[in-house]
């Protein structure tokens, strides 16, 4: 049913730390690796070794240059995956009921057996979180690794999303935003977690932690000593060359 649940018991989602992410793309690879053999159709590639390779990914890492008014530019790596929105427009536009949001934990999923591949849900998502698989003709999106987080055949440490488990920096965190004392709720609260594009009215669940303010290099106490003016021959040369 593509009407949204009035309320979800849990709000599972991710916190992504833009302060620590180094842009190594490990989460991109881990996500593709896990979801290639789990939930639904594999994530196909077109001409992977050809001149113009292309393929389906559920998670992509951008890099931005941000220039504050009073300090030098900084590079910020920016992983982009589904934000499991509370008011998910991708769900309500779906004509077939293939797209749905689970009432129990808020995960937004696609039932691929019902998907006609009309692409409307990808149009409705502001964040580019959905990609149509060119081989299967069905819509693919982040499942929040629903086949890991509840999977009792995996060791407990592995019962979290592949991208979270693999991140060497610990820049991705998984948890329940409905619980104010969960790890993700506390992180979002303490670090001023950001909701992306609030003007789109999607009420995203995931939060992004803004980069901390960088220290500004203080002027060295020895700096005045650098202003030595040459004397003698060197001073004469300096004056002469300065005139040319």
């Amino acid at each position: 049913m593509t009407c949204l649940p009035v309320k979800t018991d849990k709000k599972l989602g991710l916190v992504i730390d833009l302060d620590t992410c180094v842009g190594c793309q490990a989460c991109v690879t881990a996500c593709k690796g896990w979801n290639d053999q789990g939930y639904g159709a594999p994530l196909s590639d077109q001409a992977p070794y050809g001149a113009e390779p292309s393929g389906t990914f559920l998670n992509r890492v951008h890099s931005y240059e941000v220039t504050p008014a009073d300090s030098p530019a900084q590079i910020i790596n920016f992983p982009r995956s589904c934000l499991h929105c509370d008011d998910a427009p991708c769900v309500t536009v779906c004509p077939t009921g293939a797209s749905y949001k689970r009432a129990e934990d808020g995960i937004v999923l696609v039932n691929e057996d019902a998907c006609i591949g009309c692409g409307l849900c990808a149009w409705a998502c502001p964040y580019g979180a959905r990609e149509m698989d060119a081989a299967a003709g069905v819509m693919k999106k982040c499942t929040l690794c629903v086949d890991r987080i509840y999977n009792e055949t995996l060791p407990e440490a592995d019962r979290e999303p592949a991208c979270v488990r693999t991140c060497p920096i610990g820049a991705r965190h998984f948890g329940d935003f409905a619980d104010p004392e969960s790890n993700v709720s506390r992180l979002a609260r303490n670090r001023g977690g950001i909701a992306l594009m609030p003007e789109m009215g999607t009420a995203p669940v995931n939060r992004y932690l803004p980069p901390r303010r960088k220290d500004v290099l203080a002027a060295s106490p020895l700096a005045p000593l650098l202003d030595v003016s040459a004397t003698g021959l060197a001073g004469w040369l300096d004056r002469m060359l300065g005139k040319i």
Partner: protein
């Protein structure tokens, strides 16, 4: 947005078809016998042909029947119901005209109202998209209705209706272009709000996340088409509105006039619909730093 030929054909042909069927249903075209059959056949062919074209846009068209299930939330699903209901309701009216049964016209008028309702559901598929600010405005449904009614009036061969509705279409289309040009800025989504980094400083793309194109870029970041947009607008306007207007006003009413007015109108409609997609910017382009290229 990617101007896919199947979707352009679908919206133009079915819109024209339903607009024309509305005139036939309301009894504004008088014909009987085989002449009536030919007129109704054209209407059904346009409407159904357009709907079939839309199937080429699907990744798994064999499951298309499932699209009827979510009418409670989805405009695409409502459109599926509205078009089938309209074609079903109008069928007895067509038979009555064909065989001269003279069944009450009220049924046909109800069918005409359903035609307009169907066009409205189509338009809402686009107008509901907050992610595409140019479409997300009440002018979008008005524009689709104007297309359907003006095209329908041309095919119906009614000089007065065609002249009035073509003039109306011209005004609405010009307004849609004007309003649309300011919509992205009005909505206020920027690379700063998309990344949440705008509060720190000026944001620009440092490196793209992938070196080849992907589905998002092919489907939603179409910047090539915006290059000649202004010229195309003038051409589309001339063919869509001015040429047919001149034909219906200058030539005596008749099948030849209908054909001479409908031909440029249809080409103009295809061009205008191409622009409707090609000029529309999706906010996801912000993540790729790709918008506003002209």
């Amino acid at each position: 947005m990617h101007p896919a030929p199947s979707v352009i054909l679908f919206t133009v042909l079915s819109g024209l078809g339903f607009g024309y069927l509305a005139f036939l249903g309301a009894g504004l075209v008088s014909a009987s016998g085989w002449a009536a059959f030919a007129l109704w056949f054209l209407g059904y062919a346009l409407a159904v042909g357009g709907l079939l074209a839309s199937a080429f846009h699907l990744g798994n068209p064999q499951r298309a029947l499932r699209a009827f299930s979510q009418w409670r939330s989805s405009w695409l699903s409502r459109e599926a119901w509205a078009s089938v209901a309209t074609l079903a309701v109008l069928a007895p009216v067509a038979l009555s005209d064909w065989f001269g049964f003279a069944w009450p016209r009220a049924w046909g008028v109800a069918g005409a109202a359903l035609c307009l309702a169907t066009v409205f559901t189509t338009s809402m598929i686009y107008a509901q998209m907050k992610t595409v600010p140019r479409w997300n405005h009440w002018i979008t449904p008005l524009m689709f209705q104007s297309f359907a009614l003006a095209g329908g009036a041309i095919l119906a061969g009614s000089r007065l209706w065609a002249a009035v509705l073509l003039a109306g279409l011209g005004g609405v289309l010009a307004a849609q272009w004007r309003i649309g040009d300011g919509r992205f800025a009005a909505v206020g989504a920027t690379i700063g709000s998309a990344t949440g980094l705008g509060t720190i400083g000026a944001v620009q793309v440092f490196e793209q996340p992938h070196t080849g194109p992907n589905y998002l870029m092919r489907e939603m970041i179409h910047i090539v088409g915006r290059k000649h947009a202004q010229k195309l607008r003038v051409i589309a306007f001339g063919l869509l509105v001015m040429a047919p207007l001149a034909m219906v006003l200058a030539l005596p009413p008749g099948p030849l006039t209908v054909a001479l007015a409908a031909a440029p109108h249809l080409i103009g409609a295809l061009a205008a619909r191409w622009l409707f997609f090609a000029e529309a910017e999706h906010v996801v382009g912000l993540y790729y730093g790709q918008r506003g290229a002209t």
